[in-house]
């Protein structure tokens, strides 16, 4: 995919809502398309945080391993982003990401994205605002999940 096509794809991606054309262009210049097959591990818990992804097609499960089992935390799909912690300079991945079906995504080198944020604070502000929106949404989703709304009264999940 050339930069022009990348620009068009990024313009439609919900993560970039509110970005101005020059900012989308910057993202396009840093993006490259990647594909994963079904059941492929994109990254493992404990891996270094190097890449940030915007999902275009397919589904990815975030998983965490507990003794004797793997628990699925959430599922990400087209329009979602994957690996936001890499933009916050966190060292290691907290979860494992595994594709549930073939996935097409745009990948960004997190260090280069961070460097661009430092060089262009306007771009950096928009990116961090988009990121905060994601993190806030995930926090609300997690709180709702913890409420265990469908459980019969008095029943605990674990």
């Amino acid at each position: 995919m050339d930069t022009k096509s990348l620009y068009e794809v990024l313009r439609e991606h919900p993560f970039l809502e509110g970005f101005k054309p020059p900012h989308i262009q910057k993202m396009a210049e840093l993006a490259h398309e990647v594909q994963f097959t079904r059941d492929q591990v994109v990254f493992r818990e404990g891996d270094e945080c190097g890449m940030f992804y915007l999902i275009l097609e397919g589904k990815v499960a975030l998983e965490v391993s507990a003794p004797g089992r793997i628990m699925r935390i959430t599922t990400l799909a087209a329009g979602d982003e994957l690996g936001w912690s890499s933009l916050l300079m966190e060292d290691r991945k907290h979860f494992q990401a595994r594709t549930l079906e073939p996935v097409r995504a745009l990948a960004f080198d997190a260090a280069r994205l961070r460097q661009t944020c430092e060089q262009d604070h306007g771009f950096g502000y928009l990116l961090m605002r988009a990121l905060l929106r994601v993190v806030s949404g995930r926090l609300q989703d997690t709180r709702m999940q913890l409420l265990d709304l469908y459980a019969p009264r008095g029943v605990k999940l674990i």
Partner: protein, 279 residues
């Protein structure tokens, strides 16, 4: 829909025609009149008072097809003494029935528009008649979108029907579970996370929502943030319904009796009362 002909306070003698197991704790019961006459019809969203003789009476939403005359279908989750006794009745055994009661889902509000059904847990049961009716009158509506969240894969209701509905034209069915193991290849996350996969046309959408009250509050926030007005969002409320005719006051919610003024309300009417403590 002949509510007026139905007995108000005296249960009608009915018997169980079928008991179908849906999940580990949820059953679908089909009732018919003990004297062989047809039971009163219903509108999607209405409920009956089912009397388990010697145990107690409880309000249960009707989950069957509104165009299947003569019998009434209920989907019941066994969570307490009365529901446990009810789902353990066998075909042929007697059950008392009053109703149908309550205001139904206003389907006419969605004529010519997209129908968005959002259900959580057992909340899919009172919405199933809406889905069946929309599919029957398919030309009256544009898109049918069903978002359904359950606790885990083993708690998903009507799985075969969900798959069948998803195959219908202009119909999108998205399911999710709050907790899924690795054998579950579907979506994991609360029901509101499914909104990210939708392209809603807010001015052209009427939403019908049923589930735990907290879930409905989160769903309403999602809908409003996407521009769906409160007048086009309808919720089915659950309160401690006893008489079902608005005389005992047990199900009072602000100025309303849920049994008589509801159980279906537009969010515009509920807005001042839904988030008030101790109501």
């Amino acid at each position: 829909m002949s509510c007026a002909a139905a007995p108000l306070m005296t249960p009608l003698a009915a018997r169980l025609a079928r008991v179908d197991k849906e999940t580990h704790d949820t059953f679908t019961l089909t009732l018919e009149r003990a004297d062989g006459q047809p039971l009163a019809g219903f509108a999607p969203g209405q409920f009956s008072m089912l009397y388990v003789y010697g145990v107690g009476e409880l309000p249960i939403s009707i989950s069957g097809d509104p165009n299947d005359p003569g019998r009434l279908v209920y989907t019941v989750r066994s969570v307490g003494r009365a529901t446990h006794a009810l789902v353990n009745r066998r075909p042929g055994e007697a059950v008392g029935v009053r109703g149908p009661f309550g205001r139904p889902w206003p389907l006419e509000a969605a004529r010519g528009k997209d129908v968005l059904v959002v259900a959580g847990g057992i909340g899919l049961a009172p919405l199933r008649p809406v889905i069946l009716e929309v599919l029957r009158r398919r030309d009256d509506f544009v898109r049918l979108i069903v978002l359904y969240g359950a606790r885990s894969p083993k708690d998903l209701l009507f799985r075969k029907q969900l798959a069948g509905w998803a195959r219908q034209p202009d119909t999108q069915v998205l399911t999710t579970v709050d907790y899924g193991g690795t054998s579950w290849r579907g979506h994991v996350g609360v029901v509101t996370t499914l909104f990210r996969q939708l392209r809603l046309h807010p001015a052209q959408t009427v939403a019908y929502v049923c589930g735990p009250e907290m879930m409905m509050r989160f769903v309403v926030r999602q809908l409003e943030s996407r521009g769906v007005p409160g007048s086009e969002i309808f919720l089915s409320m659950e309160r401690n319904m006893k008489c079902a005719v608005g005389s005992c006051g047990h199900c009072q919610l602000g100025p309303y009796f849920v049994c008589k003024d509801g159980p279906v309300f537009s969010y515009d009417r509920l807005r001042p009362w839904m988030e008030r403590h101790e109501l």
